[in-house]
């Protein structure tokens, strides 16, 4: 099994690592680049050691992501997996420190407020229990009832751990599913032996799905991974006896990937958009040369069906919320022809949110895609069969993910994309399912704007309705997702957790608003989040105000302010306080409060500012948006 096969190999790894160790400047960007090469566990360890020696326990200055303090708890040796996890976080531009409980002492440490675990103050916890620990006491002579009781007992103990962690740290929990190293005792019909450890593990892994969902725990699906790679790849029985390493140290890069993907997804840092090349990526041949009849696609040839499979995988990604785009060196008319006329095309023009077919270089086109869709370059994955184009984009745009794909067999491409885990998601929301429709609606809006004679008539013709609601458990997932991934239109960029959002819901002196925008073309989904908090002196401070950039220029900002003012007045406030905390990405809202009529009362050296609005004199702005309180379910 070739680990990290979607990353480009680095023949000069050793030289680059030595250079990194000697680097006098900020080592972080170069370390991230090295982590994004195809490295085995030894190189992973070496990179981890170098980075840790240089950073000496504190995150690099100016990091835009949230550092993670991960506690890895278990009952066997796990130390050999930490470097893999930390480097996989590094790969995602996330700084991670890790902690491991004293051997076998996870429960004691959870229970003891003076333990090293509590002193570590984790912001995420991974439970990685070995199968031997979870099946203790089980044996082949056990009765059905005793086996059932043992099963219930284990489930309860897992839930108890989760509850302890949640109460103590209020942080996200990851539960590794159980590796099954046990030899069969009956054989094919192993399930007829109540005391079979192998069946016990299989049942536990099945039960963990519902149990974890019910308790808001994310799974690290080691069992799924094992099903694909085989037990022998992941587990070496001799090593288990020698060092109590259940997962082979050689697999630490892949193990780290599984964990880091969840950490990144929790921060809203999964990739959002797949940018597709056309010739020899979506179909065989070159449309400009071979013509509609000449390209290879669909039934009739193995190669053609391979390309169909690529398209079907992309289409399914789109159905679950991944945005599709095209970047192709072609005349636009040629590039569009298969989408409009080829009977075997699975993808249609309406599936593509941004279509760039021209003779500009690919980096320029990928930049244009990001701009048009209003998403960061670091949320794009670029799929191209051509090694030259891949390397060019990697060099020009290192933040874009560019998977290595076998250039001679499209049948293998979906597997590589899936293995790379770019689009790891923790949940699927209605917004995700409707995303591709939303981009189509956007095109309809653009057309209306083009025909409208002036802005007012365009806004009026849109027939906009703002439907708002207080934070609730139904919308919570989406609220946390937006709070953690919105970078540009975000006044304070405060990253709140599930627990923070629940605290807002419970506090009568605070209000959290989730705001949806609909218009004649459709539902834009939740497009703005506001958190306000009453202070002692009859003022409400706006802790968080963020908005999706796709509704810029639609009068959402003044309409939202009307809503905030109304909520603040209901709490008895006479003043609104707005704060701007500058980041690398939120320069667009520097003058947000001034534009809305606030008075800037304080400007900080870093460009941040505090602004106030006198609510006793505030007149609601008149806009073209109709506002209503509504339900989100």
């Amino acid at each position: 099994m070739q680990q990290l096969r979607w990353l480009a190999p680095a023949p000069d790894f050793r030289t680059r690592l030595r250079a990194l160790a000697a680097e006098t400047d900020d080592i972080w960007p170069k370390a991230v680049a090295l982590a994004n090469t195809q490295i085995d566990f030894t190189r992973t360890n070496a990179l981890d050691e170098t980075v840790r020696r240089r950073l000496d326990g504190s995150p690099p200055p100016g990091l835009t992501t949230k550092p993670v303090r991960l506690a890895v708890l278990g009952s066997s040796t796990l130390a050999h997996l930490h470097a893999g996890i930390r480097v996989a976080c590094l790969r995602r531009n996330i700084y991670a420190t890790t902690y491991e409980n004293d051997y076998g002492q996870y429960l004691q440490e959870l229970l003891d407020p003076n333990s090293g675990l509590h002193a570590f103050k984790p912001t995420a916890v991974l439970l990685a229990f070995d199968a031997a620990h979870l099946t203790q006491g089980l044996h082949a002579a056990l009765s059905d009832n005793d086996a059932k009781a043992a099963f219930e007992d284990i489930c309860q103990r897992l839930v108890q751990c989760w509850t302890l962690i949640r109460d103590a740290f209020g942080c996200p929990i990851m539960q590794q599913t159980v590796l099954d190293p046990f030899p069969a005792l009956l054989g094919n019909n192993e399930h007829r032996l109540p005391g079979s450890k192998s069946r016990f593990v299989a049942r536990l892994n099945a039960a963990l799905r519902a149990l974890a969902d019910a308790h808001g725990v994310d799974l690290v699906a080691l069992d799924d991974q094992l099903r694909r790679d085989g037990l022998a790849t992941w587990h070496d029985p001799s090593l288990w006896h020698r060092s109590k390493q259940e997962v082979s140290p050689a697999l630490s890069p892949t193990y780290g990937e599984l964990v880091a993907r969840l950490i990144a997804a929790r921060q809203g840092r999964s990739y959002k958009c797949l940018v597709l090349d056309l010739d020899n990526t979506l179909w065989g041949g070159v449309i400009g040369d071979d013509g509609l009849d000449g390209i290879v696609l669909g039934q009739g040839s193995a190669l053609g069906e391979g390309f169909t499979a690529v398209q079907e995988y992309a289409k399914d990604l789109a159905r679950r919320g991944i945005i599709l785009a095209v970047s192709s060196k072609n005349d636009e008319a040629n590039a569009l022809e298969p989408f409009e006329k080829h009977p075997e095309m699975v993808l249609r023009r309406t599936d593509i949110a941004s279509f760039r077919a021209n003779w500009d270089d690919k980096a320029a086109n990928i930049r244009a895609v990001a701009e048009e869709l209003n998403i960061g370059l670091d949320s794009l994955v670029f799929l191209d069969d051509n090694p030259f184009e891949r390397n060019f984009v990697r060099e020009q745009l290192p933040m874009v993910a560019v998977p290595e794909v076998p250039d001679d067999d499209p049948a293998l491409v979906p597997g590589v994309l899936a293995d790379a885990g770019y689009f790891e998601s923790l949940a699927i929301t209605d917004d995700d399912r409707q995303r591709s429709a939303q981009y189509q609606e956007n095109r309809a809006r653009e057309q209306l704007r083009a025909t409208a004679t002036d802005l007012d008539s365009y806004l009026r013709a849109l027939d906009m309705r703002m439907v708002w609601n207080r934070f609730d458990s139904v919308g919570q997932q989406r609220v946390v997702q937006l709070i953690n991934k919105t970078n540009q239109f975000n006044l304070t960029t405060r990253r709140h957790t599930d627990a923070d959002v629940q605290a807002v819901m419970a506090d009568p002196k605070s209000f959290g608003l989730q705001i949806r925008l609909l218009d004649r073309f459709g539902d834009n989904g939740i497009i703005a989040i506001v958190i306000g908090r009453m202070l002692d002196d009859e003022a409400v401070t706006i802790d968080t105000w963020l908005m999706s950039c796709r509704v810029l220029g639609r009068q959402v900002e003044p309409t939202t302010l009307n809503l905030i003012a109304e909520q603040a007045r209901a709490l008895g406030a006479k003043k609104l306080i707005g704060e701007y905390i500058p980041t690398k990405k939120n320069g667009m809202v520097r003058d947000h409060y001034a534009k809305l009529g606030f008075t800037v009362v304080e400007t900080r050296p870093d460009g941040g500012s505090i602004a106030e609005l006198d609510l006793t004199r505030y007149e609601p702005a008149s806009t073209f948006i109709h506002v209503a309180e509504g339900a989100y379910a």
């Binding site: 050793r14 690592l17 030595r18 160790a21 085995d40 566990f41 030894t42 190189r43 360890n45 070496a46 050691e49 170098t50 130390a79 050999h80 001799s238 090593l239 006896h241 020698r242 060092s243 390493q245 082979s248 140290p249 050689a250």
Partner: protein, 81 residues
């Protein structure tokens, strides 16, 4: 290059990677006590790397009998032959 020289060359690469250095000097009598940081974890890292590089599987007895680099080279040359 004799087989043994080749094994030493490959092993030196592995040791350099494992101990993140450029100048590991392997001799037949070199053992864990001579190298800073050569603990039981590094030992396993070396074993797993050796198995991957030489495409062999070392059994428990063989690993237990290793006292120095020379022993390791002997096992490899026997198994990889």
């Amino acid at each position: 290059m004799t087989d043994e020289t080749k094994i030493y060359a490959d092993l030196t690469e592995i040791f350099n990677d494992v101990f993140a250095t450029d100048n590991m000097k392997l001799t037949p009598t070199l053992s864990a006590k001579d190298v800073a940081g050569w603990d039981s974890f590094k030992q396993i890292e070396i074993m797993v790397s050796v198995e991957e590089r030489f495409n062999i599987k070392l059994n428990t007895k063989e690993i237990d009998s290793l006292k120095c680099v020379g022993d390791l080279v002997n096992v490899i040359s026997k198994k990889a032959a």
